[in-house]
Symmetry: C2
Amino acid sequence: MIIFDTPESMRDWSLTQRAAGRSVGFVPTMGALHEGHGSLMKIAVERDDITVLSIFVNPTQFAPHEDLDQYPRTWETDLAMAQEIGIDAIYAPKPATMYPEGYSTYLEVEGLSKGLCSRTRPHFFRGVATVVTKLFCAVMPHNAYFGQKDAQQCAIITRMARDLDLGVNIVECPLIREDDGLAMSSRNRYLNAAEREQGLCLSQSLFTALELLQSGERNVDAIINHVQNGMARVHIDYIELVDALTMEPVTTIDKPIVLAVAAKIGETRLIDNIKFDPAKVPAATLTTGVV
Amino acid sequence: MIIFDTPESMRDWSLTQRAAGRSVGFVPTMGALHEGHGSLMKIAVERDDITVLSIFVNPTQFAPHEDLDQYPRTWETDLAMAQEIGIDAIYAPKPATMYPEGYSTYLEVEGLSKGLCSRTRPHFFRGVATVVTKLFCAVMPHNAYFGQKDAQQCAIITRMARDLDLGVNIVECPLIREDDGLAMSSRNRYLNAAEREQGLCLSQSLFTALELLQSGERNVDAIINHVQNGMARVHIDYIELVDALTMEPVTTIDKPIVLAVAAKIGETRLIDNIKFDPAKVPAATLTTGVV
């Protein structure tokens, strides 16, 4: 496993791989790897000839009051995990390499960056879109793998990659959960036992909402009220039912939607979501729904 | 000479050239080629193994009231000129390919995009930065050639290419003038004989200002007043003396500067500029300056 820390060395290596006819897969992360990242890496290793993992805690997607300094750094165990899964190269640039003095270029993805997480983290997607473009330009992958946990991020990056002709295919991969249902996140390690217990209300509310949807419920307010009741004991940031492509709130459920939630448990902000496509309701459930 | 009209076909070809060890040079244009473009193409052909010319009249850098529809299109003569100079490939995407439905990603280069042309054309550099990034991602050049005529554009694109790790070396090439001194521009063909005559005051004022600078004048107001007097008969958009790197107005002349002007002659907007480096005053002139 080779480690690169400059865009030039990373790109040279990647272009050499491409020139040799190999497909390059890429998993961008901020490190503090968990099984969610592991599943992305495994999918990449299986699908592409060569795989690159980036580890970079990106300062431009944190606001001054957020947890940049405190964000977990677990370099040694991250490397061990990547090695075990069969990652070929790590791209781990330093902040001063990524944002040298006088840095002034930023990306905006209009429309998609409104609502949901943008409301409490208005700087977030500008930072994400900018750093992902930089990472793509350095790694030059054919495919890049993102988790559905960050549904809005997936939608934004898919749009951005298409808009800018980045030549990168965005692969959205399933959200991975702990055994008890909690969506995996590097921030879960901030939770104490009581908070961890509380945090389960996100996934549990979403699961029962999914059952409602699968059994035919199509009233947006009813769905949202249901989730709201389930999350009554935590500090809700948002509960939104949005179009899966545009990330805009919907009033009727007649195409693929994302039901997304965010909440604060103590000092820790957690997000979770489920996807639902009314055209793909399992036959058995449909019958129940119709009855 | 091969013509490509999609980013995918363009990139595949370019990556094949790179994989074969050839350097790729790129001259982005909006067509309506004149000898200024010709000089960029010749420099590229001389310096790189393979050269790509793009021809795309970019709608996002025009405001609704500007001359997008009227902008000259001279496809056949453009191709003939490129062929004669020895360009290897043309990239000429259609507007619908560049900006498909739902297009929503834009670049901002902060700081450098203020002042000068941004004041009357606030949309301009956002459109330029966005389209140039798209063109770079499709053409994947080692070097890209821009004319010094668009000094602010050169500064912005140099910064942007560095900031986003685009891996493209920006080569700023000399401004090319007509025999009478008028800076070459695709828009010069809008001018009638009287306007053309009037337009000469831009370059003439800049030339005499350069003589002042070379003979030791270091008072910014004196330089600007001099140019203002020379351009008294035209509608001045701006006259600015700025730092050549940051494009910010200066009050003292102790590092490389750009003296830039813009004016409207009838309906036609012209720009021009000179560069001056106080550390590089010719010896003979310096003596005169000191005396």
